[in-house]
């Protein structure tokens, strides 16, 4: 059945895997009918998928440097696209994105545009050139292009800051899902999550992470799309929701007018005892705010996310693994296609979830019904007991108004299957999908940090004579140490203090975007310019964050640039300083100029060899 090598057989292998997973879902559905409890199904879903990832991780073990860092540079275009999509879509994307759209409406959807538009920058400005360069890590490119350990170290600094901000949130998400599915405390769930993550990456580095990420993408996309299509068909909204929910969007707008969109005051919510983090619908589903500030808020957020996307090392390094420059370019397109499948479904899920709850003509509708009736619904009881949903009868009329119904954002994805009356097997599937999304991103991030520290700091700066065996041992030890540090911070439950995922984008954009882009597109950029740019961009961005973030100094935002958008301060400072300092210092030598010329053409050997 399997003639030829592993790579030639990939479509067959993953085809079988997908088929096997669907058979598993059907078996669980049968088991549910046969009376197996919801809890057991939840455990089986998470345990089975994690065991498969661990098996793939074990089978991909390696003792070669180029396999460990670059997956042997033989990952085919489409598969690299799937791996990148899994790497990209975090537990937060999977669980919270639809909820964000549900509560935030149009202005929140700037994230959707930002998190996809950034790939145009990746493909035009960076990915093909970094692939030609042949680097192992992002700081490897900066260090070789500009020359010297100082500049390399600055790049490592930005990478660690951006990636670590991101990774604790991911480990937190794996912990939450593992705890819920397995019925263990959150603190234990975090460590279970970490062990699962390390099983995928430790033995095989990039090679193992690549093949598990492909497997994780397949699970997460099936888990996201099945409920969307199922609910849409069940409530008669349309066979193909993405093209057919226009009437439902219009109906929601009509119902919003009927029920009224009221914003609750903080004092009212406190008096009623609404648990922290729960929200009611206060923003129009499809309406657009008028005025210049609304436009600026939308566009500035989209810019930060787009430029940040193009600077995040764990994404850029995925394009180092393709066989050629042109496949790196194509691979960006496939990545975005696979991301698009999920991102374009999030607003549809939000629409379906909202109409299920709001429309009095549907059996699932709860708004406008009597509160006593609503409180006796099974899923409301269950999610209320976990403080995920809440009812506050502000006007005391015993009828549930739109502003009296509170939900946590994650509930939109996690509970909608139950709300719409889908069997529990779908909820188990969604838990497995969330776990896959969080694990794949955490793996990519931990690997990016560990590789930068092992290759750039240890091998290039501390011990350049280290042999292959020693280098790979150091890389693995660092992987465990960084994972443990992330899990430890996550288990202390202080992630809310560490701030939003968006910060990672702003940090990366402040310090890395212009040094990377100008490294390819401007021959005159010098080492001194790059160092000054990275440090000043990072400092300016961080200083502004401290100045504006409510939990730090909490000053009023300048021109609407709040803590989600501080990259708009950091990146321009980085650009100006880098250009000015570069022009003041001596132009790069002839060898560096030739190197940049070589990077700009796809043919020929890569600048850095397979093993370096």
């Amino acid at each position: 059945m399997f003639k030829g090598g592993f790579i030639q057989n990939l479509p067959k292998i993953y085809g079988l895997y997908t088929g096997g997973f669907i058979v598993f879902i059907l078996m669980m559905a049968i088991a549910e009918q046969a009376g197996v409890t919801a809890k057991t199904i939840g455990i089986l879903f998470v345990a089975f998928t994690v065991a498969i990832y661990a098996l793939i991780g074990y089978l991909s073990r390696t003792v070669q440097v180029d396999a460990y860092y670059l997956a042997g540079r033989q990952v085919p275009t489409v598969f690299n696209g799937m791996a990148t999509a899994a790497d990209w879509m975090s537990g937060a994307s999977f669980v919270a994105l639809a909820g964000g759209v549900y509560f935030g409406g149009y202005s929140y959807m700037a994230f959707l545009v930002g998190w996809t538009g950034g790939y145009v920058l990746v493909s035009t400005l960076l990915a093909p050139y970094l692939r030609k360069f042949g680097c192992y890590t992002v700081p490897d490119f900066i260090g070789t292009r500009y020359g010297g350990n100082g500049v390399r170290f600055c790049a490592v600094l930005v990478l660690v800051l951006a990636s670590f901000t991101y990774v604790t949130a991911q480990i937190n998400a794996t912990g939450t899902i593992a705890a819920r599915a397995l019925g263990i405390p959150f603190e234990a769930g975090v460590w279970v999550g970490l062990v699962s993550i390390l099983l995928c990456s430790m033995l095989g580095g990039m090679r193992a992470v690549t093949w598990t990420q492909v497997a994780q993408y397949i699970v997460l996309i099936i888990a996201y799309l099945i409920p969307v299509f199922w609910i849409s068909n069940k409530i008669g909204a349309g066979v193909f929701p993405h093209l057919m929910l226009g009437d439902e969007v219009a109906r929601i707008t009509e119902l919003e007018g009927q029920f009224g969109l009221a914003k609750n005051s903080a004092a009212d919510m406190k008096a009623a005892g609404v648990p922290g983090g729960l929200k009611s619908i206060a923003v129009a589903h499809a309406g657009v705010g008028a005025g210049g500030m609304a436009v600026w808020k939308y566009i500035s957020l989209a810019i930060c996310m787009m430029v940040g996307t193009a600077s995040l090392p764990h994404i850029l390094m995925r394009y180092f693994t393709t066989p050629s420059v042109k496949s790196a370019r194509k691979s960006v397109a496939w990545s975005l296609f696979f991301i698009f499948l999920l991102y374009s479904s999030a607003p549809m899920l939000a629409t379906l979830s909202k109409i299920s709850l709001m429309d009095p003509n549907l059996s699932t509708g709860i708004i406008g019904k009597s509160i006593a009736d609503v409180q006796s619904i099974e899923w409301v009881k269950q999610w209320s007991s976990q403080k995920q949903v809440f009812i506050a009868d502000f006007n005391g009329d015993g009828i549930l108004q739109l502003n009296e119904w509170f939900m946590r954002t994650g509930v939109v994805v996690l509970a909608t299957p139950e709300v719409a009356g889908l069997p529990y097997v779908i909820s188990g599937l969604v838990a497995a999908g969330g776990m896959a999304a969080a694990m794949s991103t955490a793996d990519g991030l931990i690997l990016a940090i560990a590789n930068a520290l092992s290759h750039d700091v240890y091998y290039n700066m501390i011990d350049p004579k280290a042999d292959v065996r020693k280098r790979l041992i150091v890389a693995r030890v660092l992987l465990v140490v960084i994972g443990a540090a992330g899990a430890y911070i996550a288990s202390m439950r202080i992630t809310s203090i560490l701030g939003a995922v968006a910060w990672a984008f702003d940090f990366a954009m402040s310090g890395l975007f212009f040094p990377l882009v100008l490294g390819v597109w401007w021959k005159r950029a010098t080492r001194e310019g790059a160092i000054a740019g990275m440090l000043s961009g990072l400092t300016a961005g961080t200083a502004y964050l401290i100045y504006v973030y409510p939990k730090f100094l909490g000053n009023p935002a300048w021109l609407g640039i709040d803590h989600l958008r501080f990259g708009l301060i950091g990146a321009p400072v980085c650009l100006v300083v880098m250009v000015v300092v570069s022009l003041m210092t001596k132009a790069p030598d002839a060898a560096t100029q030739r190197m940049v010329d070589e990077v700009r053409v796809p043919s020929g050997k890569s600048i850095l060899g397979r093993a370096h």
């Binding site: 545009v113 790939y119 145009v120 969007v249």
Partner: protein, 84 residues
């Protein structure tokens, strides 16, 4: 001008063209979000549709188009890669 310089000039032009399209779908249309939302596409308000789906799809198409055309530019100047 050498072959390499010509290739780079054309590559740069293609990059700028691609980024113009990108800027249109990521920023320019959202400058008019309020104004275009009264128009309708597939039954959705237009600005809602673009931010939920339309611009995302446009980016996918732009990158595939970019990659194909860039390959042609590389081959035109003899810098295309041979398949391994």
């Amino acid at each position: 001008m050498s072959n390499k310089e010509k290739h780079w000039q054309k590559t740069r032009g293609h990059m700028i063209m691609t980024l113009c399209l990108w800027a249109f779908f990521s920023m320019v249309i959202f400058l008019f979000g309020y104004e275009i939302n009264s128009m309708s596409f597939l039954g959705y308000p237009l600005a809602y549709y673009m931010t939920a789906q339309g611009s995302l799809l446009a980016f996918v198409i732009i990158i595939f188009w970019f990659a194909n055309k860039q390959e042609k530019i590389d081959e035109e100047f003899g810098f295309g890669e041979k398949e391994d």
